[in-house]
Amino acid sequence: MTEAPSIAIVIPVFRHSVLLIEAVESALAQRAPFGIRILIVNDGCPHPETDETCRAFARAHPDRITYLKKQNGGLSSARNHGILYALDHLPSVRAIYMLDADNALRPDSMARAMAALDEDPEAGWIYPDIDMVGLSSGHDYSGPYSVLLHTAMNTCEAGSLIRREVFEAGVMFDVTFKAGFEDWDFFLSCVEAGFRGKNIEGFGFLYRKRPESMLADSEREREPILARMRAKHRALFSPRAMLELEQEEAPRYAFFLVDLDEVWLTTDPLAESEVLTPEDYSQRLWRARSAPGRHHLPPLTVVTRSETLAEAQAAGMLHGLLWQLETMVDQVHLAGLLAVHAPSDRMGLHILPEASRSPDEAAMLMLTTDLFMAAAGDAQGSWMKSLISAAPQPRVALAQVTLPPSLPIFALGEGGMAAALLAFLDGMRQSHWAAGALSLRDWRQPDLRRRAGSHMILRQRLGQQPNLPMLRGTGRHMGLILSILEFGGVEKVALNFARAFAARGWTLHLFILGSREAAVSQEWRDTIASVTFLGDPEFSPWGGGDRSYFGNEIPRWASSGNHPRLIALLHWLDAVVDLHSGAAVAVMSQLKKLGAVTVTSLHLADLSPMGRPSGNPFLTLAYEHAFDLFAPCSLALGDWLHAMGIPEDKITPAPNAPSFDIAPDRLSALIAERSARQPGRLRAMFLGRLDAQKGLERLGEVIARSAHLPIDWRVIGRAILTDGAPPVPPSVLAVLEPALTTPEELTAAFAEADVLVLLSEFEGLPLTVLEAMRQGVVPIATDVGAVSEVVVDDVTGCLLPLEEAVEGCLSALESLASDPARLRRLSDTATATMANRHWLAATEALAQAIDRVGATRTVGSDADIPPPAHIAPLSAGDAEMERVDLTPAPWVELCQNGPDETALLQRYELYAGFLQFGSPENAGVVCDLSCHPVRSRKGVTTRAIALKPQGRRQPWFTYEMVLPDAPLTEYISMDWTLRYALARPRNLYAQFMLDGGGENVTVDVGTLRGTDAGSTMNLVLALRQIDPEVLRRLTRVRLVLSTDGELLPFDLLDFAIHGRR
């Protein structure tokens, strides 16, 4: 008797009755200091010779070979069969090796692989280099295992030695992967279960490579299979997770910090980096040049000073600038950055005309490491040296950052960055490692070349666009999206949103989409962590659109802009608040799918020149699906949204509050001063933009006609001098004062006034009114927008019908000027109304709603799965077709029999001729089958079948619903209405399998997402797409549904089938 085996080698065989011999012989020839059991799994091979060969081997080596035979189920199924046998019958087995019947092993393979597993407890599996025979070649898969790389390519061959614990954790091969890449899927499942791979050189795996093989087939089917994998392993493929993997495994940048003489390898310069000396980096560089698949090197090289990084971070622009430079490097050889001070408190980012400044003036230079390496390999280096000449040969693009005077601009130190880059290059060129790296290479082809372009992996996931190199950390991040940032009401609301959410622990980030400059004041900088300019010259919030939604224009950028670029900038955020940024609504749906909670903050509808209401609230109606939450600034706007079709659950008003704070004791003092004020001339004030919206003509008339009254007027604001703007009336000009911007100036102005006059044409809920009322200034305002929510006529102020605004205003002024008691009463009520009106309270409901939606949001996405052709809607003609109910009668009876009906469903045994259920085949799992009532969210109760698996938990299950003897030629299609009643959302992978008359046809439907209990999914099997000759022979239809690894104690399902003819 041989010793108890430590390794089981599983050899599935199907149609390789002769080549199998070499595989088995190579397994028998293993030289190892431990026992090896060979499990040959005959996967229902139709060749009798296979059975004979397998039996002959089993008879010849009864103590070393076990022959297992099963019905055909595909490669994954056969592997699983062998694995389960090993788990159940071979307790001494510590690892299982997968050897395909047409491949082979060298004699020491298992001994080496087992030694490697023993040496490294963290390795879940040992994978080989691949030495191909037939079409012979050697392929190098060496180097550290990378999950990131594994998401982009199939780095681990199935012929790996896999630790027993992997299978005991429930990871098995997915039997629904029949077109290849099942090994890729399997190892990604291993990763998700917490295991990692490890390569060893000289493993001794021999792969029989033929010009045409299943692998070649799977390459043709690559995209659909990849889409399935992305859907199945959404956590791994989530861009957020990939960015973290990039930092950990394949950092994007090598920062050469001139002042420190250090090289930092990192994606996010604020994260922990590996720090090297230039000498150590030179070894890395040349090592990666020598074996690009084995050794990672950051794909982008940045030359700068540590102070520059610190200063860019202090300005909140560090990550955005790196992102911008990376974009530029795609177009030119080098991208550079320089900084200037703005005359006022503004920030900006401009692309300078090419050759307008010397590259040596840049404070930061970025280039691809490929180019850097090529330059280092160029002995003369004259091309790159021309950087510091008057006519640089490399194409250089420079971006100029504008910073407020209070922030330091990036220091150059001694010598420019171009000179520093050349010195750095010289160091690399003269490195003693260079000659060796250029001369000697390993003989195997570096198959993991993508290691050298690791940043492209994440880019590929995000529409080929550079990704903001910012790690999220553990906090919650909210992005505020603005088209411009100046001094408007929306910007004030944005600032107060930012403050309110910052107070709740969120980290705030500001994104300016439509402008390259913004008034990012100190207040903003104190509140937000970063500010990033989109810098897309094509972006415009409005205009250019050739489509409309109920008469409201869809901006051109929303239809055809570079959406991936903006998505790549924003995808990592937990919440995105769109503040009237117009066309940016187009990316919200994708952001939502990528895990962000999307919010639109709405303020008011504009009026077109002809007086038609338009603007952001109308645009959001067209993109209702893209937003999780609508946050109107007033209750009135909320009602309007609901009336226009936005579900009530989505509407969470965040009513406006005063835009700046006044300390409570200071406010009390101001109110006390007002109370103590002696009656006198009425002090009337207008404060705001001097434009048509604000009713400038009415104001002028009121001022002119009130000259006889005891009133002192102040008009504070800035005239808008644009074409078409009405002229400022002389009566207004006579009392016009410059605009005020600081809280102190505004507080003082309100403290002095008795009444605020605002005769606007249209408004939202004006902040000026709220700020005035807080200090006891009585508003006299037109009844537009949501003004009436705070101005109640003769209670908190004077509310005027728009049509009678001038007369009403004059009347109110006269009354208040002559009646100090009334003035006092209204003032007191106004003050009291505003007592608890502040932004923290205003945003509380919204914050709770964001938390609620965020809790249900999955990080990953199946957004990029192409819609399956088979569930495309039928044409109108099809809808007219006769529908025949094909739902199996036993199923209908079972559902009608009520809750007491139960049965035992054996594994892979047809129940009542139509239903079978499996967990990994032959795993011994059976199910209790019973009927349960299911109540949908709409309150409708129906019955459905409950399947409760017995025995040990398994990572996946399949259901097969079978239509035997289906008269397929009678129908042009079959509609399957599937109701999968779920305890929580999960995915199902659906395939139709048709067979009969020696034919097999598989129609992949794709991944279905079940969301709520009772939700239905409609699947259409288009029979007319099948070759009529083949269709004639097919007799049986199976719908195979596979779960994706989330086992639930109860799975409920119901379905109906209708044929169309």
């Binding site: 008879r59 790296a437 195997r444």
Partner: protein, 437 residues
């Protein structure tokens, strides 16, 4: 080696005592449990060993029917093994089934023997053709091993003081035929060089060199390594009173190519047609074990190297286009080109193509041997004219120690014209027939 196979007969437990069984019997119980000698066995273990399944009673038959149904779930069957018989018929049935199994097995053995014979014939034919092909290549191309790598010793003279070291070779093993190390200074002691293949952990050759001299130490494999691509690794061991200094070459950033964590060894590598014999270069050492080949080739590289050292470059030079060494003796002048140490012990015959150019030219040519520092004493001269290329043959007394090989050409004093003489590659043999002894 295969383990012995014990055929089994399967019977229902209720039938076990109904007959005497002339062979081991496995029993199926009512609950379809299978036992052999009282030990429960899985169907996967038992099924391949069955040659018969007998029922001796209706109950036994029913039990085997149930077992068949169960086996069908996994695609197995008792078809062909099954007999429903009486106890008296059991031995005959058993023998009948055994005979059927024997016939089937015999048929398969005969079929496989025929296939083997076909394969053998094919292999023999292939080998014969390959031998002819090898001979043809040898005769036409002269089979000079092809140098694929030259990592010169560092200019700074840095060396490795060897006691033990390992060096991965920067190439695959396919066709690898020779390698050379740079010995910086002669040393007393014994150098052992083993060439391993990483993937199969096989040592394909070992060279033991005593008291190595300075310069390139070329180590040769008689047969170039096969098409099975693997990673070659050198293992070097030195035993001697003081370390052996081996020349170092480039610093390599990848530790896999570093020797003892330092620069790569100075190396030369040669390759040839994978898996084929190639004549040795006379300046190379064959492995210490294994048959010694009696063929050498003094190739163009050796001729070129010697020509560069010639004292009279005006008259002796190596020309690529001429395919060898060109000498220009004047009437009455004898020219000689010395190839140090290339007359190897065991050589008895030399042959090589020669030609003479020039209108009216005539020259006498020969190969000679001489101890280092000694003048050659040629035994015979062959007259060659411009009419056509000729083949120069020289027989030597069997050499016991290495000597210098000298290519010699002279023009008779009476000749009216100088001659241009070309010596091409030279083959050397340890036997007069030119075959391996």
């Amino acid at each position: 080696m295969t383990d012995p196979w014990t055929p089994l007969c399967l019977v229902a437990s209720c039938d076990l005592q109904a007959a005497a069984w002339p062979m081991p019997v496995a029993v199926v119980e009512d609950d379809l449990t299978l036992r052999l000698d009282g030990v429960e066995l899985g169907i996967d273990t038992l099924h391949p060993r069955l040659v018969a399944a007998l029922s001796l009673s209706p109950k036994g038959a029913a039990l085997l029917d149930r077992l068949e149904l169960h086996l069908a779930e996994t695609g197995r069957t008792l078809q062909g093994l099954r007999r429903d018989v009486t106890p008296a018929e059991a031995p005959a049935a058993l023998f009948s089934l055994m005979a059927a199994a024997l016939v089937q097995s015999q048929g398969r053995v005969v079929k496989q023997m025929r296939e083997l014979a076909q394969m053998r014939q094919l292999t023999e034919t292939s080998l014969q053709h390959f031998e002819r092909l090898e001979a043809f290549v040898w005769q036409t191309a002269k089979c000079e091993r092809n140098q694929v790598l030259n990592l010169a010793a560092r200019a700074d003279g840095a060396t490795l003081a060897l006691s033990e070291a390992e060096q991965r070779l920067p190439t695959d093993s396919v066709g690898l035929s020779d390698l050379a190390l740079w010995v910086a200074a002669p040393a007393q002691g014994q150098l052992t060089v083993a060439l391993d293949l990483m993937e199969t952990a096989v040592t394909v050759a070992t060279w033991v060199v005593s008291d190595p001299g300075a310069g390139w130490l070329r180590l040769a494999l008689p047969r170039a390594l096969s098409t099975d691509a693997q990673t070659p690794v050198l293992r070097l061991t030195w035993s001697g009173p003081s370390p052996l200094s081996l020349g170092l070459s480039l610093d390599h950033p990848d530790p896999r190519f570093q020797c003892q964590g330092g620069p790569t060894l100075a190396l030369k590598l040669w390759k040839f047609i994978p898996g084929t014999n190639a004549p040795l270069s006379p300046d190379s050492l064959p492995p210490s074990a294994g048959p010694t080949r009696g063929r050498w080739l003094i190739g163009l590289a050796a001729l070129g190297e010697a020509a560069t050292l010639a004292a009279d470059p005006e008259r002796i030079e190596f020309l690529d286009w001429a395919g060898g060494v060109v000498m220009r003796p004047e009437p009455g002048q004898t020219l000689g080109l010395r190839l140090p140490g290339l007359a190897r012990p065991g050589m008895v015959r030399l042959q090589g193509m020669v030609s003479v150019e020039g209108i009216g030219a005539q020259a006498e040519l020969t190969y000679a041997v001489a101890a280092p520092g000694q003048e050659p004493d040629p035994q015979s001269w062959q007259v060659v004219t411009p009419a056509e290329p000729d083949q120069l043959h020289v027989t030597l007394p069997r050499l016991e120690v290495a000597q210098d090989l000298v290519l010699m050409a002279r023009v008779p004093e009476a000749a009216e014209h100088p001659a241009v003489v070309v010596f091409e590659r030279i083959e050397a043999f340890a036997s007069l027939t030119g075959r391996d002894d």
